[in-house]
């Protein structure tokens, strides 16, 4: 007779054996909580990505967090002016690791059509960008594609190696 504490494959399904790295990356890649850095018209398309037709929740990213402390991926959607640049940098610095950045649209990627005294020529001048999305503004599908590309990138990250490298910085009790 089977103990009630034993593993019950009828209820809990089959056992999967994997590496810790792969498991951690799987968790991370499928719950990328975005920080919607909506600065211009791209933000409207970003709303469409979150709404029912395109539905970013299919990728585990429906939890738009307006606090940098709770978010994983900053989606820079729109024109970054020099006046706003310091704020974008500060919010990025407030996000906890691991963190990623998607530059959505021509303006966030390169300054776009704004070749002028007022516009930062690409958000990669102040923060590291993982995925660039072309378009003015990009179609919502393009943003989903960027998210899938980011998931692919996350799944290849050497998480354990990074954590071991971080250990001396975290102190004795970690």
């Amino acid at each position: 007779m089977q103990s009630e504490y034993a593993y019950d494959s009828k209820i809990e399904g089959d056992v999967i054996v994997t590496r810790v790295d792969a498991a951690l990356n799987w968790f991370r890649a499928n719950s990328v909580w975005p920080m919607p850095m909506g600065l211009a018209c791209c933000a409207i398309e970003l709303m469409a990505v979150g709404a029912s037709r395109f539905d970013i929740s299919r990728f585990g990213s429906e939890v738009m967090r307006f606090s940098p402390r709770q978010s994983d991926c900053m989606i820079v959607a729109g024109t970054v002016t020099y006046k706003m640049a310091a704020c974008v940098k500060r919010i990025y610095d407030q996000m906890s690791e691991p963190k990623w950045v998607i530059a959505m649209g021509a303006c966030a990627s390169t300054g776009g059509m704004y070749r002028s005294y007022a516009t930062l020529q690409g958000v990669d001048n102040i923060i590291p960008v993982d995925v660039y999305v072309s378009g003015c503004p990009p179609r919502p599908e393009a943003v989903l594609d960027a998210l899938m590309k980011l998931q692919g990138k996350i799944k290849k990250e050497p998480v354990l190696q990074d954590l071991v490298a971080l250990k001396p910085l975290l102190g004795q009790n970690q």
Binding site: Y82, Y117, A118
Partner: protein, 205 residues
């Protein structure tokens, strides 16, 4: 009361400091010779003639001419449904004129914008800070002698600017009835950029 009648009344009231009303495409403009009388003229236009709404204040840089600045007030009467334009010149040495904030409260942000972009101060404004650029930015970017690409600045903890690579630009679009390829913004030599002339490289022979 039409715009022309209003303009004539201002002319009768203030005499020589007001120019003859100029008409262009059905719109009336007046030029005020003495900027120091601006508040009086505006008060008269509002209180007596019913111009209760200040639509906009704009400024023009007549670079290389004297006086350098022209400040333009766009007045509207919601009562009589007419519009009137009031212009006044300001010299570069002075670069200041009276604030009309006591007449129309909406002038507040317009005057801050003119100070920010063109560097013309409105005397009597209670809060003349920059409105678009940040406090401490050293230039007035809409002046004709300021390059479109900007100038490098750095204000630690607030903002920095760099010179934008223009890559042969600025890229200019033209109003034309041709297709989107002809309208597309591109580098244009000045003779191409005459009004009404589309891109000569695309004109069918």
């Amino acid at each position: 009361m039409t715009a022309l009648e209003s303009a004539n009344q201002i002319k009768v009231q203030f005499g020589d400091i007001i120019s003859e009303p100029a008409e262009f495409r059905g719109e009336i403009s007046l030029k005020l010779a003495d900027a120091d009388k601006l508040v009086e003229v505006c008060n008269f236009a509002k209180k007596t003639l019913g111009f209760d709404f200040l639509v906009d204040i704009t400024s023009v840089d007549n670079y290389g001419e004297d006086p350098r600045w022209t400040v333009v007030y766009h007045l509207r009467s919601l009562v009589h449904n007419v519009e009137l334009r009031l212009k006044t010149d300001v010299s570069e040495e002075k670069s200041a004129l009276p604030s009309v904030l006591s007449v129309w409260r909406t002038a507040n942000w317009h005057e801050r914008e003119i100070y920010d972009m063109m560097g013309i101060r409105c005397v009597g404004h209670p809060d003349l800070r920059r409105i678009l650029m940040w406090e401490g930015y050293p230039y007035h970017p809409l002046r004709k002698d300021f390059p479109l690409a900007g100038k490098p600045t750095d204000l630690p903890g607030v903002a920095f600017t760099r010179v934008t690579p223009m890559e042969g630009g600025p890229f200019v679009t033209l109003p034309t009835k041709e297709d989107s390829i002809a309208r597309e913004p591109r580098v244009r030599v000045p003779e191409d950029a005459e009004p009404g002339v589309s891109d000569k490289r695309l004109v069918k022979k």
